[in-house]
Amino acid sequence: MHCCETGNALTMVAHMELSNLFTADFIYNLARGPLVWISILICIIGSIARTVQLLSYTRIKTIDPNIDFSSIRKKPPAAKGGGLPEPGLFAVLKGTILGVSPVTILVSLCFHICLIIIPFFLLAHNLLIDDAIGFSLFSFSERFSDFLTIIFLACAAFFLFRRIFLARMRAISTFYDYVVLFITVAPFLTGFLAYYQIFNYKIVIILHMLAGELMLVAIPFTKIFHMFFFFIGRFMIVNQHTMGKGSRTW
């Protein structure tokens, strides 16, 4: 079905006259039609390819066969046990990254949750998806989506300020980091402006679509790929801080 739609759009492009090529209408149609499909395809295929590539760099991890686990189980390895009470939840949290940088982690959590759910459950998007494929996900109320977007933008602002004002962030920040942040935030910012019809709606909505498509294309090929790498790096590849039993190694 994708191919079919894309095919039609391309035929449409082919039959257009050159003079029309750079008008707003043309770009609008292009961004609304073929570019959406192209960028989604690039995003999916690119992400799969990069995931496969990443996994191909790793291999199944084997535990050192020379460890005698039976002997370890039989006797206490070091001195006698202390019998301390189990540490409370607060004490456990204190040692984790959530305890060390709670604000950053919570903001980051909100940021990423909003980033994922807003586009999928936005009413306007779902109407378009329904138009295109005759099926759509459930939608949030417009007010709720609006609220989430504000939260998202606030989180993004927090990140931006952090990068600008924190010495430790400045020490490792490059222009690229700002670009990535911009690519991520742009669709939401333009979408927000478009919803409230601030500035020229037509231009803003075109920018919104282009920004969204740019982000989709960017996902597999920029640092934004960390959204996949996170799960591979923390759950599959074994390291000091693996969550669960990592089974692969570099």
């Binding site: 535990i63 050192d64 020379n66 460890i67 005698d68 686990f69 002997s71 370890i72 390895p77 070091a78 001195a79 693996t242 039993k245």
Partner: protein, 224 residues
């Protein structure tokens, strides 16, 4: 950290005599800090050996490579390519490093170039002093932070023997008596009560090989 001292050159030379291609592996960890087995010492040892073999008219192909720590599998992996090219390996790591290296290349002869001396401290630049024998059952709490296992020649747990000699150990006038020091330190801290109690026989825990699994990692290795 672990303290070591290089073996006599003659001993190393004799061990290498039958081999033509030798890889001298250094360790960037503890033995590097105590100037016994780091990259610099690898270079020195190779220079010395080269000269010896040249003099004896038996030149050999010597290569040196220093890894960050020979007690770590990840760092040892760096030798995977280089090691099989040699006929034998010389390890300038502590005993732990030598064994781990030998375990990684089980078909290769591995010779130690270091005598592992102690777990110790940097008393002065170039002066290292043993401080711990890793007995596995630390008693420092009641001995004023002075280890009777390491410092007392007779490993006494209940006070100085009859041989104390003006605060020195009976085995040498140059060695301070551990218990004399323990007594004085606890006296100053008004904690003599700690050594008035009879300390029951030590439960030695260094008589079998010991392995530690960090609590946080127990789950990861559970069921193996």
């Amino acid at each position: 950290m672990v303290k070591g001292k290089r073996k006599p050159l003659e001993e190393i030379r004799a061990a290498l005599a039958p081999y033509n291609k030798v890889l001298v592996t250094g360790c960037g960890g503890c033995v590097s800090v105590c100037l016994a087995g780091g990259q610099k010492e690898v270079n020195l040892l190779m220079d010395d050996l080269k000269m010896l073999f040249k003099q004896a008219n038996t030149p050999k192909h010597l290569k040196g490579y220093t890894v960050e720590r020979q007690c770590n599998r990840q760092f040892l992996a760096e030798l995977d390519e280089l090691a099989p090219q040699a006929e034998c390996l010389v390890s300038m790591a502590c005993g732990a490093g030598v064994q781990y290296l030998a375990e990684r290349f089980p078909n290769m002869p591995v010779f130690p170039a270091i005598n592992t001396i102690a777990i110790g401290v940097d008393r002065e630049i170039g002066i290292y002093e043993e401080k711990c024998r890793a007995c596995g059952e630390c008693v420092l709490a009641y001995t004023g932070g002075i280890c009777p296992v390491t410092r007392c020649a007779k490993c006494l747990f209940n006070g100085p023997c009859g041989g104390t000699n003006k605060g020195m150990c009976e085995i040498s006038n140059d060695i301070p008596c551990a218990w004399y020091d323990i007594y004085n330190r606890l006296k100053d801290q008004k904690r003599l009560g700690d050594i008035l109690k009879i300390q029951t026989p030590m439960e030695w825990r260094n008589q079998t090989q010991r392995t530690v699994i960090q609590e946080g990692y127990e789950k990861r290795y559970a069921g193996r």
